[in-house]
C-alpha cells in the first residue's frame, strides 16, 4: 500500500505527516533491540523453558531487527531524496493490523500473560511490520489493487474485533452480569455482579431490597427480639429450596434468633470479607456466621490481584478478555440448554424455581413442590456429564493436594475476624456432595485417575480454625451420620445440582441450631 500511495504523493514535499513511518520504524527498532536483549539476557532459563524454540525465537527477533533496519534505511533514504514514501495513514493502518494480529496470537498461543513474553512478541511484531512494509514495496506495483483490498479488509476486521472488545467492556461496566465477569474482578465487584436482583422471585419468595433471599433487613437495635445473626455465604445460602425450607429459616424457628441470610451465588472467601465489612457489620449483629463450601471456596482465582502489569494483563490474559470469555461461556450455556431442552427444564435453574410467583408458607410450598418431601421426584439441574465433570474437578482441586487457595482462605478469615472486632465470627464448613454420597465418591475417584484424600479439606481447615480459636461447625460428620435411604444414598443434595435439597437444609438447620445454642 505504501507504494501505491507513494505514486500518488511522490511529488509532494516532505511534510510532518510523512515522517511518521520512519519515526515508527526507529521506535520499532528500539522495541526490537530491547526484545532481543531481553531474550539473550535470560537465555539460560529460556533455553530450559523453550528448548530449541529459543534459538528460533532469537533468530526471529534478530531477523526482525534486520528488517526494521532495512526498512528504516529505505525510508530515510527516500525521505532524503524526496522520493517514494509510505503514507502516514497506510503506516498507521498496517501498524494497527499487526498489533491486533499480535494481540490475537498472544491470546491464542502464549498464555498465561507474562511481561517478558509480551516484550518479545512486541519485538517480533515490530519486525513483522517492517517485513510487511518491505513486501508492500517490493510487490506494490504488481499487486497494487490486491494489496489495497487486503489492507482495507484486514484493517476492517481488526477494527471490528477491537470495537467488539471495547463494546463488551463498556457493557460489562454499565450492566455487570455473571456472563461478563472476569477472573480479576475485585471482591466488591463480584458481589455486585452475582447478587440476586431486588424483588427477584424464587420459589414464590421475593428477594429483599438488597438482593438477598430473605425478608427485609433492619439494623440491630436494643430491645429487638432475640439475637441477630448474619449468615454470609455463596449459593448454599441462596439455596435451591423455597425460603421457608431454607436452613436459615428453619434455624430461626429452632433457636428464636433472627438470622439474616446474606447469600450471593458464585462468591468465595474474599467476597465474604467484602460482604462482612460492607453489609453485615453495619447491621450491628450479635454474631456472624460464614458458610464455607469445600467444593469451591478453596480453589479461587484471586491471585491476579497482586500480579504486576495489571493493565496489560487485562488485555493480554485470555480469561480477562471478554472476546474470549463470553463466547466460551455462551457455548457452555448452549450445550447445557440443548441438554435441558431434551429434558424439558430451564438451564441453570433448580426445579420449579421460577414456576410460582405467589408467596407461600412451608406447607403450601410442600404442596406446590412435592419433590421437597419426596426426593424421588427431584429433577436434575445439570446434565450428568456437566455434574460429574464438575464434581471431579472439585475433588481434584481439594482432595489431591493442599487446596490452591488455602492461604487466601486463611487470610480472608483472619481479616474477617479482625474487621469484626468484638462481634464473634463463626464458620460453618459445608461439604461437597462427593464427600457425603459414597457412590459419587467412587465415580469421582475413578474419573480423577489419581489418589484422593476425601477428608483432606476438612482435616486442614478444622486444624487451622482450631489453632486460630475460630469456632466452627463441620457439617461433614453430621451429614455422614444421616442414614442412607434404601438405594444406599443419603439424598441430602438436590439431584445433579451440588446444593442441599430440603433434607440437607433440615439436617443443616438442626446442627446449626445446636451449634449456636
Amino acid at each position: 500500500m505504501g507504494k501505491i500511495k507513494t505514486h500518488q504523493t511522490s511529488n509532494r514535499l516532505p511534510g510532518r505527516a510523512s515522517l511518521l513511518t520512519p519515526v515508527l520504524l526507529v521506535l520499532g527498532m528500539g522495541i526490537g533491540v530491547r526484545a532481543l536483549m531481553l531474550a539473550l539476557s535470560h537465555r539460560v532459563p529460556l533455553l530450559v523453558i523453550l528448548g530449541p524454540r529459543f534459538h528460533m525465537t532469537a533468530v526471529g527477533l534478530a531477523v526482525g531487527l534486520l528488517l526494521l533496519l532495512r526498512a528504516s534505511i529505505f525510508e530515510l533514504r527516500e525521505l532524503r531524496d524526496g522520493g517514494a514514501r509510505s503514507s502516514s495513514a497506510a503506516s498507521l493502518r498496517s501498524v494497527f493490523v499487526v498489533a491486533i494480529l499480535g494481540w490475537l496470537l498472544f491470546l491464542w498461543l502464549i498464555q498465561p500473560f507474562q511481561r517478558i513474553w509480551f516484550d518479545m512478541v512486541l519485538g517480533g511484531a515490530a519486525g513483522a511490520w517492517a517485513g510487511l512494509l518491505l513486501i508492500q514495496r517490493a510487490r506494490g506495483e504488481r499487486h497494487a489493487r490486491l494489496l489495497r483490498w487486503i489492507d482495507i479488509l484486514a484493517f476492517g476486521i481488526c477494527a471490528a474485533l477491537l470495537s467488539l472488545e471495547l463494546g463488551l467492556r463498556l457493557w460489562a461496566t454499565v450492566r455487570p452480569a455473571p456472563l461478563n465477569a472476569t477472573v480479576g474482578a475485585g471482591p466488591g465487584e463480584l458481589v455486585r455482579r452475582f447478587r440476586c436482583d431486588p424483588g427477584q422471585v424464587r420459589f414464590g419468595f421475593a428477594c429483599n431490597s438488597r438482593g438477598f433471599y430473605d425478608t427485609e433487613f433492619y439494623r440491630n437495635e436494643p430491645g429487638d427480639d432475640g439475637p441477630l445473626i448474619v449468615a454470609i455465604g455463596d449459593s448454599f445460602n441462596v439455596g435451591t429450596v423455597p425460603h421457608a425450607w431454607h436452613f436459615t429459616s428453619i434455624c430461626e424457628e429452632l433457636t428464636g434468633a433472627r438470622i439474616y441470610n446474606m447469600g450471593v451465588p458464585g462468591i468465595g472467601p474474599p467476597e465474604y470479607l467484602s460482604l462482612l465489612v460492607d453489609e453485615a457489620l453495619p447491621m450491628d449483629p450479635d454474631l456472624i456466621l460464614i458458610g464455607v463450601f469445600i467444593g469451591n471456596d478453596l480453589d479461587i482465582d484471586e491471585y491476579l490481584a497482586d500480579l504486576p502489569d495489571a493493565a496489560l494483563r487485562s488485555w493480554f490474559q485470555r480469561d480477562q478478555v471478554l472476546l474470549s470469555v463470553i463466547p466460551e461461556r455462551m457455548s457452555r450455556i448452549a450445550v447445557e440448554r440443548l441438554r435441558a431442552e431434551r429434558r424439558g427444564a430451564d438451564v441453570g435453574t433448580v426445579q420449579g424455581e421460577r414456576s410460582v410467583v405467589e408467596s407461600m408458607d412451608r406447607d403450601e410450598a410442600a404442596a406446590a413442590f412435592p419433590w421437597l418431601t419426596d426426593t424421588g421426584l427431584e429433577e436434575a439441574t445439570l446434565s450428568e456429564d456437566a455434574f460429574y465433570r464438575l464434581e471431579t474437578e472439585r475433588a481434584l482441586a481439594t482432595c489431591a493436594q493442599v487446596p490452591p487457595s488455602f492461604d487466601v482462605f486463611c487470610e480472608a478469615m483472619l481479616a474477617a475476624r479482625r474487621a469484626a472486632g468484638d462481634t464473634p465470627v463463626h464458620v460453618m464448613l459445608i461439604p461437597d456432595e462427593f464427600q457425603v454420597e459414597d457412590d459419587l465418591w467412587m465415580r469421582v475417584t475413578e474419573s480423577a485417575g489419581r489418589e484422593l484424600d476425601r477428608n483432606r479439606p476438612q482435616d486442614l481447615l478444622t486444624a487451622w480454625l482450631g489453632q486460630q480459636g475460630i469456632p466452627y461447625l463441620d457439617l461433614l460428620p453430621v451429614l455422614r451420620r444421616v442414614d442412607p435411604q434404601p438405594d444406599g444414598r443419603r439424598h441430602l443434595y438436590h439431584a445433579l445440582d451440588t446444593h442441599f435439597n430440603a433434607r440437607g437444609n433440615q439436617v443443616t438447620a438442626e446442627a446449626l441450631a445446636e451449634f449456636l445454642d
Binding site: 539460560v44 532459563p45 500480579l307 493436594q401 493442599v402
Partner: protein
Amino acid sequence: MGDLESPDPFVRSLAAIGLCVQSPAHAEPALPELLRTIDSAHVGLEREAARVLIHVGPLHVPQLLATLVVEELMSDDRRGAIKNALLAAGPAAVTPIVKCMRGPGRFLVGDLGDVLLRIGAPAVPDIVGMLVEEPDVRLKNFAAFLLGQMGPVARSALPALKGATSSTDADLVRAASAAIARVQPGHGRPGGR
C-alpha cells in the same frame, strides 16, 4: 540474583531456574523460589521448575529435607518434585534421609521411605542401621517393613532382620518375620523351598 527479589513472580522464577542451571552448586538461594514455582499455576513454569529441581536437588539434599520438614502443608506437586530430586541424588541421599527420618522428619517416614525404596540396594545398610540402632520401636518396625518391601535386594539385611525376630515387641517380630519371608523367598512360607 537481583531478579530473585523482583515483584514479578515470573521474573523471580526465571532467575531461580537460571541460577540453578548455571550454577547448581551455588543455587541454594534460588531453591525456595524454584519450589514455589512448582505449584504456581499463574506463572506457568511448573514442569520446568520440577525438571530443574531434579538437576540441582542432588547437591542440596539437606535443604530439601529441611523444606519437607518445615513446610508441612505442601502441595502434592511440590512434595513429589522434592521426592524425585532426592531420588535423583541416589545413594548420596540415603544417609541424610535416614537421619531425617530418625530426627525431625519422623512424620515423613511414608514419603522418605518411598524414596529409599526406589533407591533400592544402596539404601539397605542405612535402613539396617535404623532397624538395629533406633530406640523408637515404630521406626524399627518401619525399617523392617521397608527391607521387606525391597525384597531380595535387601538380602544383606537378613542377619539384622533375624535378630529383630527375637525382640520383645510383638509388632516388630511380626514385621521382621514378614520381611524375612520377602527378602528370602521361600523362608518361613509353608511349602517353600
